[in-house]
C-alpha cells in the first residue's frame, strides 16, 4: 500500500530515528572505546584489590577482617552517586521527556541496586567476626537498607507497570524516593544518637594510607559502575530500537504476510 507522497512505502533499512552515519559512529565508539576502557578498569580493579589486601596497613583492633572496609564503603559511595544520577535523569525526563534520560534513570537504578546489595552483604560479613552479630543498626547500613528498599520498589514499578507512560510513573517515584533520602538520614542519625549502636569503621580519623587505598578502590568501583551502566544503556537502547523497528515494520504490512 502506498501513500500519495510515497512515504512509508520504502522498506526501512536503517535504524529508525537515527542517521545511518551517526549509528555507525556510535558502533565505532563501542567497538574501540569500550574494550579499551574495560581493560583499563580491569587493571585498576586488580591494582585496587592488591592495595586493599596487601599494601594497606592492618587495622589495630579488627585485624585483617577490616579490609572488607575497602569493599564496603566504596560500594556505598558508588551506589549513592548512581542514585543521585538517577534523580537528575528523572527530573530531566519529567521536564524534557527525553527518552535518553529515561534510559539513564533505569540503568543507574539497576546498577545502584546491585552496589547497594554488595553493601548489605559485606556489612554482615564484616560485623559477624568483629562484633559477633550479623546486623548492626549502624547508620550507614540502615540507611543503605532503606535506600535499597526504595530503589527495588522503583524497579518493581517499572516491571509491573501496564501503562504506556511507564517512564513518567517511574520518574515520579524516583523524585519522591530521592527526596526521602535526607529524611532517612536525619531520622536514622537521631535514632542512632538516642540508641547508640556499634559503629562500623570510619568512626574517628582515618590513617592517610588507608584513605589512599579507599579512594583508589572508589575510583576502580566507579569505573566499573560506569562500564556496566554504559553496556546496559546500550542494551536498553538497542532493545527500544528493535521494538520501534518492529512497530514500524508492521506499519508497512500489518498482517505480516501476503494479502
Amino acid at each position: 500500500m502506498r501513500w500519495s507522497d510515497g512515504r512509508l512505502a520504502r522498506p526501512a533499512r536503517r535504524w529508525p530515528g537515527g542517521d545511518a552515519r551517526r549509528s555507525t559512529s556510535n558502533e565505532f565508539t563501542m567497538k574501540r572505546a569500550f574494550p579499551i576502557f574495560g581493560v583499563l578498569t580491569a587493571i585498576l580493579l586488580s591494582y585496587a584489590l592488591y592495595m586493599a589486601l596487601v599494601w594497606a596497613p592492618t587495622e589495630r583492633t579488627m585485624g585483617n577482617v577490616q579490609r572488607i572496609f575497602y569493599y564496603h564503603v566504596p560500594s556505598a559511595w558508588t551506589a549513592f552517586i548512581l542514585f543521585f544520577i538517577n534523580f537528575g535523569a528523572s527530573v530531566v525526563y519529567l521536564i524534557k521527556r527525553k527518552p535518553a534520560a529515561d534510559i539513564v534513570a533505569l540503568v543507574t537504578a539497576e546498577v545502584g541496586v546491585v552496589f547497594c546489595t554488595v553493601v548489605l552483604i559485606t556489612g554482615p560479613i564484616w560485623a559477624r567476626p568483629v562484633w559477633g552479630i550479623w546486623w548492626t543498626w549502624d547508620m550507614r547500613l540502615t540507611s543503605t537498607l532503606v535506600l535499597w528498599l526504595i530503589y527495588v520498589s522503583y524497579l518493581f514499578l517499572r516491571r509491573f507497570s501496564s501503562s504506556g507512560e511507564t517512564p513518567l510513573l517511574a520518574a515520579s517515584l524516583a523524585v519522591l524516593g530521592a527526596l526521602c533520602v535526607p529524611f532517612v538520614y536525619f531520622s536514622i542519625w537521631f535514632f542512632r544518637t538516642q540508641h547508640p549502636q556499634p559503629v562500623m569503621g570510619g568512626g574517628g580519623s582515618i590513617d592517610p594510607r588507608m584513605l589512599h587505598v579507599l579512594l583508589i578502590n572508589w575510583l576502580a568501583f566507579s569505573c566499573f559502575a560506569f562500564l556496566v551502566c554504559w553496556s546496559r544503556y546500550r542494551l536498553e537502547k538497542l532493545q527500544r530500537e528493535v521494538d520501534q523497528a518492529h512497530a514500524m515494520e508492521s506499519l508497512r504490512d500489518p498482517r505480516g504476510s501476503v494479502r
Partner: protein, 245 residues
Amino acid sequence: MTETAPVVTVSNLIKQFGRFAALRGVSAEFSGGKLYAILGDNGAGKTTLLRTLAGLNQPSSGEVTILGASKFHDICQQVGYMAHPSLLYDEMSGMENLAYFARLYGITDGTRCAEVIRAVGLDPDLVRSVGQYSQGMRQRMSLARALLNNPEILLLDEPFSNVDLHSATEMVRLLAGARDRGTTIFVVTHQASLLEGAADEFVWMEFGKIVARTRWLADGCGGGAPPRRDGAEPRHHTSSGESTK
C-alpha cells in the same frame, strides 16, 4: 457556519505500545457540524484514535489539533466524551451524578442538569441509583453527562453497545439534532446501520489507518478501498441506497 474550516486535524498520528502500533500514521481533517461514524474491525485503532482526540492518551508521534488548539486542556470545556462504560457513579441517582459533573465544568445551576436529562428522555426526579438502570437508560444518562457543558465536539466510543433498539434510535435522533445545531460528532460503533441516514460520513479504519471515507454505508466495506487524501470531499457513489453488509 463555514463548512470548509476543519475543526479537527490529525496529522501522521502514530501510537505505539511496545512492539505493536495501534495507530500507524493517521492523517485526516474533519469539518465542523458533521456527524462522523468511525467503523472498522476490532483492533483497527478506532478507540485509540478517539481516546487520543479526547486527550486521554498521548500519541507516540504526530499532532492533533482541535478547534485550533494543540493541547487538549485548552479546549476541554468545549468537548464532551462518552464511552461504553457509563462514566457515572452507580450509587448515586442520575440528577446527583449530573450535579457533580456539572460542578467540574463550573456549571452551578441545577436547571441545566434537569434540562439535559429531559432532553435524553429521562426523568430528572428519578431517585433510583444509576446502577439499577437498564443499559439503555444508563447510556442515555451518560450522554446527558456528555452534553452538560454544551460541547462543540462530541466524542462517543461504542455508545450503542448492549443498548435496546428504542434507546439507541432515541440517542441517534438526539445526536442528529445536536449535529443540526452545529456540534461536530464522532461516533465509534460496530452498529453502523443505526447511523445510516444520520451520519454525514463513514470513516473506515483498518489496522491503525483510515482506509476509506464514504458518504454511504454501502460503499465502503473494509479492505481494498483506496485511502483518501486529506480533506478531500468524499465521492458520492451512485448506489441505489440499499444497505448491504
